[in-house]
Amino acid sequence: MLLFRSEEWIDKWCKRNNLGRGEVLTINNVWELSKLWYQNRLSLEYHGRSVEQAEEIFRQAGLTSKFWYIQR
């Protein structure tokens, strides 16, 4: 996940690397996602998470598109 100054730079990077565009979040969106994703990572009780638990975090962070979910 790379950092960009603007949408235009993302488009240039995608074109140059012949890659489709993924999802773009603001730095504040990612900050909120990070709080949910990383807050307990140093704990002995952290044993990883299931796909369902990861998807619940995306839901809590307001990420609702198919990009964030594994189709079942």
Binding site: M1, L2, L3, F4, R5, S6, E7, W9, I10, K12, W13, C14, R16, L19, R21, G22, E23, V24, L25, T26, I27, N28, N29, V30, W31, L33, S34, K35, W37, Y38, Q39, R41, L42, S43, L44, Y46, H47, G48, A54, E55, F58, K66, F67, W68, Y69, I70, Q71
Partner: protein, 158 residues
């Protein structure tokens, strides 16, 4: 044969070693810490790698990534608690101060434009590009190139 309890203790040790020192413990250091053989410690490393708890360099027992930490230098730096950490990506750069529960200065380079940016984390909040002439009012963006379903196909690219 690995013990499930010790497995997660090893994961905990690797992560806290990273937080304390900015680098991952070698398999020998982990073996000494738990008073087990190097072979046994290596088995735990391999099992934790297979469970995506951290990522080993291919064909080795060297930890490359313990998300959000990177064992190799990257363009995403985090200065916190008097130390400098490297993150695997822009998202992980934000994850390090959250994991450490500390204030931090984040330094990164924007892809394509090559602009250097600096962000400050203070009291649980993030201030945008504090070095920018416009005071950071122009929002920085993070691009996630692959959908969640494909994140573990190639973790270095992801």
């Amino acid at each position: 044969m690995t013990s499930e309890t010790l497995l997660w203790q090893v994961r905990h040790f690797v992560y806290n070693h990273f937080a304390d020192t900015t680098h991952a413990p070698t398999v020998n250091e982990t073996a000494r810490h738990f008073n087990i053989s190097t072979e046994e410690a290596g088995n735990y490393y391999t099992e934790l790698h297979s469970r995506h708890a951290f990522f080993l360099e291919p064909e080795t027992l060297t930890v490359r990534m313990a998300w959000p930490f990177s064992a190799v230098p990257t363009i995403f730096k985090v200065h916190a608690n008097g130390k400098t950490y490297y993150a695997n990506c822009a998202w992980d750069m934000l994850g390090i101060p959250i994991l450490l529960q500390s204030d931090a200065i984040l330094e990164a380079v924007c892809t394509e434009s090559n602009d250097s940016v600096q962000l400050e984390v203070k009291n649980g909040n993030i201030a945008q590009d504090i070095a920018a002439e416009d005071g950071g009012s122009s929002g920085l963006l993070v691009h996630f190139p692959l959908p969640f379903a494909r994140w573990y196909e190639d973790v270095v690219f992801t």
